[in-house]
Symmetry: C2
């Protein structure tokens, strides 16, 4: 299995990407193709280049975060994102991982791979690790700002396939994110989506509200990409706020306590804050395109990249793409 990794994308590229890829190659026994500028990557990979597991694929250009995704896709055919997506298209790689411009990744995947039969729009499925017992899936976490009810119903179908395979839940509960429990609550989009979802054979449990997210009231939270992105980033921001306070607290405590004393108290909070840090844990999968595309956080460091590669491996092994292609869509 070869996993192509965008070595030019994200805030900490290429150093942290390379570090994460090397760790992943060792830990997961996968072959990594680092996509970027050979001259630079050769130096960074160094002694690991001669070992099995890491190869370099030239891509002379890179797409920056500020750029218009569609323009960049057109004007930079030799960018790491376009080259990586092409490797999926021509079968050179089984999956592509990028921490670069997610707009460009989604656009390039849509244009160059196309969607699975019957799928109107691909969606970003993000795993949220708020509860220690199991993650939940937020879909769409950002690919489609404006949605129709039929899109949301397909997101629910895609999410169900994904969670079945990734978490092994046989009949995952699908909740529709809304501003009230009753089916009459919501905006026009959710009200109409609710009526269609009720008639599917999905395990649709109805509307869920914001406070239900951290209670794991559903296994899959279906929403439009605008709301999903805001929810994801709101959780991330609050996690940061807690993490900062925790650091300050630990500094103060360590001046007063013997080492280890606050450990028991700290362990619960710490693990929640850590799980919520989606730079580390929240690799997202672009579901519905004809290829395995993993979107890592733009601020991914080595550990996050390693985890995203681990997710890519899982997605390939469970053959989620095939499961998605076999389904017929509403």
């Amino acid at each position: 299995m070869i996993i192509a990794v965008d070595a030019a994308g994200g805030e900490y590229a290429p150093h942290e990407i390379v570090k994460g890829a090397i760790k992943a190659a060792q830990e997961y026994k996968v072959d990594i193709a680092l996509v970027g500028r050979k001259s630079i990557l050769r130096v960074l990979v160094g002694r690991h280049l001669n070992k099995p597991g890491i190869t370099i694929v030239e891509a002379s250009q890179s797409i920056e975060l500020g750029e218009s995704p569609l323009k960049a896709i057109r004007n930079k055919p030799d960018s790491s994102i376009i080259v990586g997506i092409d490797m999926l298209k021509n079968g050179t790689a089984s999956a592509f991982v990028s921490a670069g411009s997610s707009g460009a990744v989604v656009g390039a995947a849509l244009l160059n791979l196309g969607t699975a039969k019957g799928i109107q729009r691909p969606a970003v499925g993000s795993l949220l690790h708020i509860d220690a017992a199991a993650p939940i899936l937020l879909i769409d976490a950002g690919a489609n700002a404006d949605c129709r009810p039929s899109f949301l119903v397909q997101f629910a179908q895609l999410g169900t396939i994904y969670i079945k395979e990734i978490l092994g839940i046989s009949s995952p509960r699908v909740g529709l994110l809304s501003n009230g429990e009753e089916e009459t609550k919501g905006n026009r989009l959710t009200q109409e989506s609710h009526q269609i979802l009720k008639k599917t054979n999905l395990n649709f449990i109805g509307n869920i509200e914001g406070q239900d997210i951290s209670k794991r009231a559903a296994d899959i939270i279906v929403t439009d990409g605008f709301t999903g992105n805001i929810v994801l980033k709101t959780l991330e921001g609050l996690g940061d706020a807690f993490m900062n306070l925790r650091r300050v607290g630990q500094l103060i405590s360590s001046a007063y306590h013997h080492q280890g004393r606050t450990l028991l108290y700290d362990v619960g909070l710490g693990s929640l804050v850590k799980r919520m840090d989606y730079r580390e844990y929240g690799g997202s999968c672009l579901l519905g395109v004809n290829g395995n595309v993993i979107i890592a956080h733009g601020r991914s460091q080595a550990r996050a990249i390693k985890n995203a590669i681990g997710l890519a491996k899982q997605v390939v092994e469970r053959d989620i793409l095939q499961r998605i292609k076999e389904e017929s869509y509403e």
Copy 2:
């Protein structure tokens, strides 16, 4: 100043409402008119009834949370919400506080008080106390699930007046909640709203994202009521998750440590969790109607009701209604 308080609304009505009202009358030196069933309220108010500060106004009906707000408004003319709103209309009370069905409160206010001149839709402005330095305003936090760009622009205007008066910030920063910083990001609603907001004389700082909320990147966060409600409840749910972990942590710690040892460590986290608990701190103001209406959390206990009455007093004293009426709207 007489503040009417819905004694029949909310999960902990009437006991906690009455307790909170009595405390508020003592602490804030305001006169409270408890609206509900006299026979019950007389018993609960007990010895306080003979002191100045508390009166009882009969309302024989109450609107339940599950009811359709519009039907309930029509069918229950003697409900505490309708009677309370009427007290604003006929000038008997200066403000009305309710922890009951927010849909019914908004509907009754809209129907019986009407909107200020030029206002298309009233909006719920909720103060978020994430940062210790100062709260920020989320508007609309739930009144309008489907919005037009012109609504959002008016929410920004209403929010600016409110924050100027309540927090004394002369030129509060207005951020438009979106799924990306650039003005081209967002759904159609935010993209169009952005273009109009740019041309106003508001201190519009552009789009802000979910993670900016806990960083206090803006003083006012403008969004539609669907997204706003979900953000508010997502924050609430996560706050609950942290609070629960903190309680568990404290129990474990107290078994191992001497009292007071974890205090310094705990103080920062504790205050953040506490501030985020919008049952206590997050009284919301319905802005844009011809009356001072404060919406308290449905799970408000005495302290939350007392705080909501404190907010009502502030809104009356700063004459926010007059400021709103003086403004001309886009």
